[in-house]
Symmetry: C2
Subunit: 455 residues, 2 copies
C-alpha cells in the first residue's frame, strides 16, 4: 500500500483544491431555482471520475436530478464495489448565521468550511480520490462502480426508478457509503443501523382570509392556535408519539442488547454542554443514545403562519402550516406511518378548521449486518488507520435509499462514514476536518485490499 | 344643512380623487423602511386640512412618526370637537392575495379598494371633507381641532407623550373618532366599548445552532415542538386562558346586561358562511357576540421557526418564535396582564429550553357612556341619515389610545365609525363602500349641528 500513501501525500493539496471547486457549486436540491446547478455539479463529477481513472462516466438523466454513473472493471471475476454518494446539499438558511459564504469554501483551523464540506461532497470526494490513487499506482484490487445522486436530501425519489431500470449495470458485491459519522476520532465506529423517515407537511385553514384579531378574536378558531394544539398533542407528557399504532411495529431491544448498546462511550454532561442546553428531553425510560439510535421520534422541522415581520400585526391568519418528520426504527414502515399520521391528524382536527396533510418523502429504517465480509474488511481497515477497532453504532439519521438498495438491487450497504458531530451538517457553518478527510483517504484503499482478499 | 349637502354633492368626485392620492402613500408604520412615507403622508394631510379651511395645520414631530395637528376656532365660547384619526396602515402581506395593488386604489363594484380604504384613511377623509364642506358653506357650528397620528397600528407609543405635552392645545369637549364599524347599513350602531390589548412576542431557544433532526431527534428538546406545547397550553379545553390571574379583573355582565347585549341582530349561520368556517370556537358558556364584545381572548398573530421554504429540510431549529396578543375587557389592565403572561410563560417553560418574552405594546379597554351629550347628538344624526336609531355596540377591537385620551386629557371619545365587517380591514383586499363614505359625509355635519345645540 505504500505506493498509494506516497501518491496521496504528493497530491493531497490538489485534492483539496479540486474539492473546493466542487463545493462552490450551490447544488441545493430542495430549491428548484438551483436546477441548473445540479446538472453542472453532475458534469463536474463525471469529468472528475474519468480524470481519476474510470473507464467510462456518464451523466444519466432521471425524472429529477441526474445520476452520475462511472466504472472501472479490472476483472469480471474480481469483487465489485459500488460506491454510493450524493452531490446535492441542504439549503443554507439561516444564511445570516454563516461566518463565511456557504458556497465559497475556506480552510480555517484545520477544517474545510462550507455547505457540503462533509455531507456529502467532502465524503464522496475521499472515494473519488482514493480511487484515483489506486488507479494511478496500479493497485486497484476490485472492480469499482460509482453511483452519485442529486436528490438524497429530498428523498432520492428518482434513484429508486434508476435502480429498478439499471439492476444489471449496478450489480456489485457491496455498496460502499460514506454519508455518516463516527463517534469520535478516538472512538471510531461503523454505522450498522439507520433510522427511517416519514416527512409530512400539514396545513390548517380557518377563515378564508386573514381576519382582524380584535373583531373576531375569541369567537373564530385561529388556525395558528389550532396548529399548536394539534402538533403539541402529537407527543404526550412521557415524550411518546400519540398517533395510534405508531409503536406497533417497533422492535424492542432485549435487556442484553440494551446493555451492550449503552456501553458506547457517552457523557451526558458533555453532550448538554456541546449543545448549550439546560437539559435533554425525550421518551421516558430510554437513554439519550437509545432515544436517537433505536427509538422513533417526531420533530417539527418548520412552522409558519400569520405575521412574522417586524413589529406587530393584529391578525388571525387564514392558514398556518408545519413540516413534521418522524424518524423510524426497525420494523416501522414509512408508508404505513405516513398513513397513520395523516388519518390521526385529520381525526383530531376540530370542525372549526380544515386540515390538509401531505407526505413529502420517506424511507425505511436499515440494519447493516456486522458479520458480512465487507464489515469485517472495514473493521480491519479502520483499526489499522485509527489504531482502534471501530464500534458498531446505531445512528439516528436516515438515508432512505439504503433500504431501497437492498429491496431493489438485493445488495447490502456498508456505512463507513468519517463525519463527526461537530461537522454541523445541515446547519450553518458546516465543516469537515482535514484529518478526517485524510484518514478517510487512508482507510478506503485498505478496505478495498481486505475486501478483495475476503473472497 | 342643505348648503352642505349641495356642496358635498358638487364636490364628491374630487373628494374621492384626493382620497386616492392619500391611499397611494404606503404609510405602513410597522415597517421601518416606510419611515419616509410617514412624513410624506403627514405633510399631505396638513396641506389638505389648510386647503379645507383650517386656520393652521402643523406636522408636529414626535419620538416616532409625526402628528398632524390642525384647528379652526370660530368662537372661544363654542363647543370644541377634537377629531382623532390615524394615517398609518397595516402591512399588506400576504401580498399575493390582493386582487389589485394595495397602494394603487381602484373603484370597483361601488367600493374603494386599497390598504387604508377604510382603516383609517377613508374614515378620516370623511371628517376632513365634512369639515371642508362646513367651512366652505359658512356653517361650521363648533370649534374643530384635528389630531392625526401615524402609529395607531403599532400602539400609538408617541401619542401618549404628545398628549401629555399638549394638554392645553388639545382642550376639547369631545374626541370624535371614526375608526370602528357598524353592525350593518340596515342596523347602524355606535361603538360604546372597545377591548384592550396586550401584545407579546415569545422566543424559545434550544440548542445553540440548528441540528440534524436524525442525529439528535428524540433526545434534544426541539424549540418548535416546545413552542407548540407552551402556546397550546395557554388555552384550556373550555377555551379559557390558563394564565393565573388572567380573569381576576374581568367585569362579568349581569344576566340583564347579557340579555340586552345578545338582543343585537346576529345570525350564527350567516357568520360562519361569511367566513367559510365549519364552526365557531371560543370560551365555553358565552355567545359569539359576547366572546368578541365583552370577553377577553388570546390569539397567535404569527408563528415561525425552522425551515419554511420549498421541499424538506431535516432540521431541529435552534429557535422558534410567536407573536401572541390578548384582547382585554373592563377592568383588565394591559400592564398587569403583560406581566402575568411573562411570568406564566417563563414558569411553564421546561429546563431544556430558554425562553425570552417581550411586551410589544398594549392598551386599556374603554367604555363610552351612552348618556353623554355627544352620544345623544350622534344618535340623532345617525338616525336621520340611516333612517334608524343606532344600537350601542361593544366592539372586539382595540384602539389603545382612546383610554389614554381619557386618563391624560380627561376627555371622553365618541366612536362613530362607518366601517363594515366586509371591509376586510387588516386583511388583503381592504375596501370601503362609496355609500359608507357618503353616509359618513352626511352624518358628520349633522353631528356638529346637534352637538352645538346640546350646549
Amino acid at each position: 500500500m505504500d505506493k498509494v500513501k506516497v501518491y496521496v501525500e504528493a497530491n493531497k493539496d490538489r485534492f483539496i483544491k479540486e474539492l473546493f471547486d466542487l463545493l462552490r457549486i450551490p447544488s441545493i436540491s430542495a430549491q428548484s431555482e438551483h436546477r441548473p446547478d445540479m446538472q453542472r455539479c453532475a458534469e463536474f463529477l463525471a469529468a472528475a471520475l474519468v480524470e481519476a481513472g474510470a473507464d467510462r462516466a456518464e451523466v444519466m438523466p432521471t425524472a429529477g436530478n441526474p445520476v452520475v454513473y462511472a466504472e472501472k472493471i479490472i476483472d469480471p471475476k474480481a469483487r465489485t464495489v459500488l460506491v454510493y454518494g450524493h452531490y446535492d446539499v441542504m439549503p443554507v438558511d439561516p444564511r445570516g448565521e454563516w461566518r463565511t459564504d456557504p458556497f465559497e469554501p475556506v480552510l480555517r483551523d484545520g477544517r474545510i468550511w462550507g455547505r457540503g464540506a462533509d455531507d456529502d461532497k467532502g465524503q464522496l470526494w475521499m472515494h473519488a480520490k482514493a480511487f484515483e490513487a489506486m488507479c494511478a499506482t496500479d493497485s486497484l484490487p476490485c472492480n469499482v462502480k460509482f453511483m452519485l445522486e442529486g436528490e438524497e436530501e429530498i428523498g432520492s425519489a428518482s434513484l429508486y426508478d434508476f435502480c429498478r431500470t439499471h439492476r444489471k449495470l449496478l450489480k456489485a458485491d457491496i455498496i460502499l457509503v460514506s454519508d455518516t459519522s463516527m463517534l469520535s476520532m478516538q472512538t471510531p465506529s461503523i454505522t450498522c443501523g439507520l433510522r427511517g423517515l416519514a416527512y409530512m407537511e400539514v396545513e390548517v385553514t380557518g377563515p378564508d382570509k386573514d381576519l382582524h384579531s380584535g373583531l373576531f378574536g375569541g369567537a373564530v378558531a385561529n388556525p395558528a392556535n389550532v396548529l399548536t394544539r394539534l402538533v403539541a398533542g402529537l407527543i404526550d407528557a412521557d415524550g411518546r408519539v400519540t398517533i395510534p399504532g405508531f409503536y406497533d411495529d417497533v422492535r424492542e431491544l432485549t435487556p442484553a442488547e440494551r446493555r451492550a448498546f449503552n456501553r458506547a462511550p457517552f457523557s451526558l454532561a458533555a453532550y448538554k454542554k456541546s449543545l448549550k442546553i439546560g437539559d435533554v428531553e425525550g421518551e421516558a425510560g430510554y437513554t439519550t443514545l437509545e432515544r436517537t439510535g433505536v427509538r422513533p421520534s417526531l420533530d417539527v422541522n418548520g412552522i409558519w403562519g400569520g405575521y412574522t415581520g417586524e413589529g406587530t400585526k393584529t391578525v388571525i391568519p387564514s392558514k398556518a402550516s408545519a413540516k413534521i418528520s418522524m424518524r423510524l426504527v426497525p420494523n416501522q414502515d414509512f408508508r404505513k406511518i405516513s398513513k397513520l399520521f395523516e388519518r390521526h391528524f385529520k381525526a383530531i382536527a376540530p370542525r372549526s378548521v380544515k386540515v390538509c396533510v401531505k407526505s413529502l418523502h420517506g424511507g425505511m429504517p436499515y440494519v447493516s449486518p456486522t458479520d458480512m465480509p465487507a464489515y469485517k474488511a472495514a473493521e480491519r481497515a479502520v483499526a489499522e488507520v485509527f489504531g482502534r477497532k471501530p464500534l458498531p453504532f446505531y445512528s439516528g439519521g436516515s438515508i432512505p435509499i439504503i433500504s431501497g438498495f437492498e429491496s431493489i438491487l438485493g445488495i447490502k450497504s456498508l456505512l463507513i462514514g468519517f463525519g463527526l458531530a461537530e461537522d454541523a451538517i445541515h446547519s450553518p457553518n458546516e465543516s469537515f476536518g482535514l484529518e478526517q478527510f485524510e484518514r478517510g483517504l487512508a482507510t478506503i484503499p485498505l478496505f478495498y485490499k481486505y475486501f478483495a482478499q475476503s473472497r
